[in-house]
Amino acid sequence: MTYSYYPGCTLKNKARELDDYARRAAAKLGVTMEELPEWQCCGGVYPIAKDEIATKLSSVRALMAARDAGQDLLTLCSACHHVLKRVNHDLQTDEAVQTKVNNYLAPEQPYTGETKVIHYLEMLRDVVGFENLKKQVVNPLKGMKIAPYYGCLLLRPSAVLAMDDPENPAIMEDFIKAIGATPVAYPYRNECCGGYVAMEAPEYACKRCNAINASAASFGAEAIITACPLCMYNLRQNAADPLPVYYFTQLLARALGVEEDEA
């Protein structure tokens, strides 16, 4: 299986390991990730305003490039996934956006949301299959109690993101089971970490992260996994007594025995 891959700004920089591990694990699983040749930043947040077009264009370029390559678009960072998926949905459903975007970009073939945006976790679940993944695990993370942290961007609004049940998701739990560890159920896995207020008002983000971290710890979690560099930052920097936080791809790589391949 070959995907067009959209890494996003942070994965080229502060969150390089999220990307690295993902690529190595994918190679082991027989999935090819072809990075889009000229991707641009998605903007970090989805432009909610109905009249915003320009801020959606960079996403459309990425979506269109995947369409032209005849591939689904694979994402990794929660924020990029959220933005790309929602912009794509706008292109599928909002005629005004469709017209304006196509007038502006004037592509040879108008873009109307044909690309399928798929998150790395969804790829593991729906394409590789967790049962199959389990078979390929060489270092099962036995006994490790892991709290999955979804945050807000992966799940909501569920009508558009459609990844999993927005209030009682299972995809990360199933992933944790597949790599041999034990998922820890706790109620704040889908609560916001504070997101972009981290820079403006770190003390406010602290409150959010403390609640999440403490809840996970109270249920006996030894570590937290996330798919989002900003959640990672917040949970590490802004929680008191923080549990170790990993990108899910790092534990995936560890379980598949490819974590230490590269020095």
Binding site: R156, A198, M199
Partner: protein, 129 residues
């Protein structure tokens, strides 16, 4: 048309929200993780925009406290989408002259080594035009 009326129409158009769908159950504010940080809560945004009491909202810090986590959007039984409305109010302010909440020159002192690019990009997107 009065300024308030024009502002209200602008906010409704930007956000695509119809505040009249609200049945005042307060579920948005019951779900909101930013509740304690806010002077005006999500359900009040809906009521106050509909009421035309927008100046109070524009003057309040509550505007900048919404995390756009969409918990209210997800859980609203009437599909009002309060987070979209709050964004509409925010933009109604930011799009006016000299109303950026975050300025480029403010950023460097707030940075640290671990802060991901994403945080800067999204904060800038949320707080400035």
């Amino acid at each position: 048309m009065s300024d308030t009326k024009r502002l209200k129409e602008q906010i409704l158009a930007i956000s695509g929200v119809n505040p009249r769908k609200c049945m005042k159950c307060g579920k948005c504010s019951g779900a909101c993780p930013a509740y304690d940080e806010m002077e005006y809560h999500p359900h009040q945004f809906v009521a106050m925009v509909e009421d035309g009491r927008i100046d109070q909202l524009l003057a309040s810090d509550s505007l900048w406290m919404c995390l756009s986590c969409f918990a209210c959007v997800e859980r609203c039984p009437r599909q009002v989408e309060p987070a979209h409305l709050i964004e509409g109010v925010r933009l109604a302010l930011i799009r006016q002259q000299n109303q950026n909440h975050l300025h480029a020159e403010d950023i460097p002192p707030k940075l640290n080594d671990a802060l991901p690019q994403q945080a800067i990009v999204s904060a800038y997107r949320k707080y400035s035009k």
